[in-house]
Structure formats: C-alpha cells, structure tokens
Assembly symmetry: C2
Homo-oligomer: 225 residues x 2
Amino acid sequence: MDHVYKNLKVEINNDIFLKDPESTDLGKRIIASSIDLIDDIGFEHFTFRKLGVAIGSNESSIYRYFENKHKLLIYLTSWYWSWIEYQFILQTVAISNPVDKLVQAITILTREVVQDMNYAHIDEIKLSNIVIEEYSKSYLTKEVDQENKDGYFAIYKRLVLRLRDMIAAANPNYAFPASLSSTIIEGSLHQHFLKNHFTALTDCNQQITPTDYFINLVQIINKNS
Amino acid sequence: MDHVYKNLKVEINNDIFLKDPESTDLGKRIIASSIDLIDDIGFEHFTFRKLGVAIGSNESSIYRYFENKHKLLIYLTSWYWSWIEYQFILQTVAISNPVDKLVQAITILTREVVQDMNYAHIDEIKLSNIVIEEYSKSYLTKEVDQENKDGYFAIYKRLVLRLRDMIAAANPNYAFPASLSSTIIEGSLHQHFLKNHFTALTDCNQQITPTDYFINLVQIINKNS
DNA sequence: CAAAAATAATAGTGTTACTATCAAATGATA
DNA sequence: TATCATTTGATAGTAACACTATTATTTTTG
C-alpha cells in the first residue's frame, strides 16, 4: 500500500496555476509557507507580500505561480480533496459489503486528519484546518458558475458523487443520496468548526466525534428503508 | 397575528453598529441599498464607496453607522435570523404534538422565503439570498471567538438551540440533537446554494425542496428510536 | 562558456479601507 | 427669530492591497 501511495501525483487543473508549484523548489516553498501563513493569520489577512517575506522571496515571483490568492486557495483545497479522495478509494475498494463500505467512507471523510509523511512540504493537519475555516469562501463568490464551468471544483464534486453512489448502493430506496452526501461532507467541516468555536451548537467534543454523529445518522437511515 | 407581527422590533446587539440605522431615514436607506447591492455584486465587491454612490450619499456618512462592511453583514444577517426566529416562535407555539411542532419548525427554517410587507425597507428575498451566499463569511474569520464573546451571533445561536430543544422533545433518545440542529440550519443554506450552483450535488430542484429532504431525514430519525 | 530561464528588485497604478477636518443643512430650543 | 446642536456632505489624506511592468541578477541547461 505504501508503494501505491507514493505513486499518487495529485492532479490539479492546469488553469488554477500559471506555473506548476510542484515543478520547482520555490513553488514548493510557496505551498508550504502559504499553508503555515493562512493557518496562522487567516485568509483575509493573508497577502502575497507577507508570503514573500515569509519565504524570503519576492512578491512578483509568487505572481508567476498564482494569479491571486483566491486561486492559491483553490489550489490548496483541491490538493486536500485529492489527497482525501485517494484515501477514500484505497481504503474502501477492498470492502464488498455496501454498508461496511459506506461506514468506512464516512470515517475517512469526517475523521480528524493526521500527518502524512509522503508529502514533505505539506502539513496536512494545518491544511485540514484551512479547509475547515476557509473552504466555503472558495465557492461562495459571484464567479462560482464560471469557475465551476472551468473545472475548479472538479475533485470536490467527484468526491461528493462517489459518496452519493455508496449511499445509494447501501440503500437503493433512499430518495436523497446526493443531498445526504453533500450534507455529510460539508456538514463534517461545519461540525469540526463548531467544536472549535461554538461548542453549544454541537454534540461533538473530545469524546464524541463528527464521525460518530454521521455514522449514526447513516445507520438510522439504512435501518429504515 | 398581524397585530403581533407588527410589534416585532428586531433587536440587534448595540455594538454591531455605531448608530442605529433604524433611527433615521439615511440609516434605512443604507440598509435597503446594501441589501440590493450585496445581492447584486457580492460581498467581496461591495464597498462603502459604491454604497454611497447608490444612495446618493457620502461614504463618510455610512461610516457613522457601521465601522466596516463586516459589521454591516453581521447586522443584516442578524436581522434575517431574528425575522426567522419570530416566525419560528409564532408558527410553532400553538402546536402541542412535539413531532408536528418539529416538522413545522423545520419547514420554517428550510423553506424558500417570501416577501414580508411589514418591513418596507427590507427585501427579504434578496436578504435570504445574501444569507445563503454570504453568511458563512461572517463567522469564518480569525476574529470569531472575540465576536462570539461579544454576542455578534447570539440570535443565530439561540435559534439553533431552540431547534435542538424541539428535536430532543420529539425524540428524547436521540444522542445528537445539537449537531442535527446545526446541520439542518446550516445544511439548508447549503442545499439552497447547491440547487442554484451545483445541481449534481443535491437532489433538490424545482420539484423537490430542501424542506422535503430535511423533514424526511428527521422523520426517519424519529421512527427509529 | 553562452544562452535561456527563473528569480529578485524596484517602481508605479488604481483601489480599498479607512480617518480627519470643515462646511452646509436641518431641527430643536429659548 | 436667533442660536445651538446634531446630522450629513464634501474634500483630502494615509497606509495597505492587488496587482503590472521593467530591468537586473542569479541559476540552470545545452
């Protein structure tokens, strides 16, 4: 499995970047430091000027990789979803029982992230925090329809559809598999956020995880049709 | 009921504004036009300069009502949640059966909004679109903990807790009433958004509504414990 | 070693997000 | 009706942001 793992080349739509940041050392430093910096100060306070200072490089050099910080956010979150999708596929493919398969899928999508040593320049824990706190901003824009057409959200959408198919396979009678899938994936980010900032609005805490909540939900639905 | 309705004075935390916009004609024009303008161009493109032009007034005058556009967004969305909360209370109070009560509550929280003639300067339909497309941005910030402490999200939180209590009343054995409540309220906004921009990721459309989806979900949970 | 490519440095533009100051209009009071 | 206070409007100014353009320097590659 480790072998296969290392073969994952995260594939991201070419028009998200001007120059592939994976192709150079500076590019990788841009990725690594932007994760640190966005996690630290938040996306609104994050600027290419500050990132330049952080990596000891020039603002203008960063602009040769990404048109603007919005596209960098799309890049980072696409990387994240691609990384999750890889685990999703790999860790469900061997399960034949559709209910077990679905439970495993939900576990992967809702659990707390741990460091992945296969990607030296990416801090997956910080990246997952960025996804929790910033992902919505990547699509809650006036440009969403054009960017969707241009494939900016393709990986995320594919993942939602994969989960939808598993929900439908586990329970062919259920009428809302797509809505449930999007609710779980988006809702998981939301529950993680609430756990960190609005503790009264969630039952999740140190003991109870979003995974517990969503698996219970899906099991109730499965029992009931 | 209409009588009671008109008695609703939407009550919003004083430190969200510098000067109550309800107290003057200019203030009401700021609210009315900001709803139009944010709905039209989106929150990122919205500026106080543009709003000043739109109402034929000066940028500096707007700054006397709101410190910045973030606080204006908090004000608008607080108004929205307060307006929803009022309907929520009024239209559930007479229902004694806890399951019926819950179903009605979910209907109010997830249905498409219609114009309310009681508030001349507020376009509730546009405002609900703003909530769908921009609300997350009001709390997905680095300042969220301080602003939460300052009561900026009090109305929204109260509403989530009201729904949580109804979920618990309808089904005392269910282990995740708070998470389900926050999932429904946030998830409803998300399903409305998907219906408009990512049709493949939801089952909701012209025929099937987010209300159908969430009521079905809650009914399955109720049957099953 | 030369040519090409990548990066860095510097400067400049228009916009944003304000703050400050002062003038004009409006309204309340004596 | 005079005057005083409050509100609004106009103008100007600042620092930061979001870039673009140009040129110099360094690094890579053939």
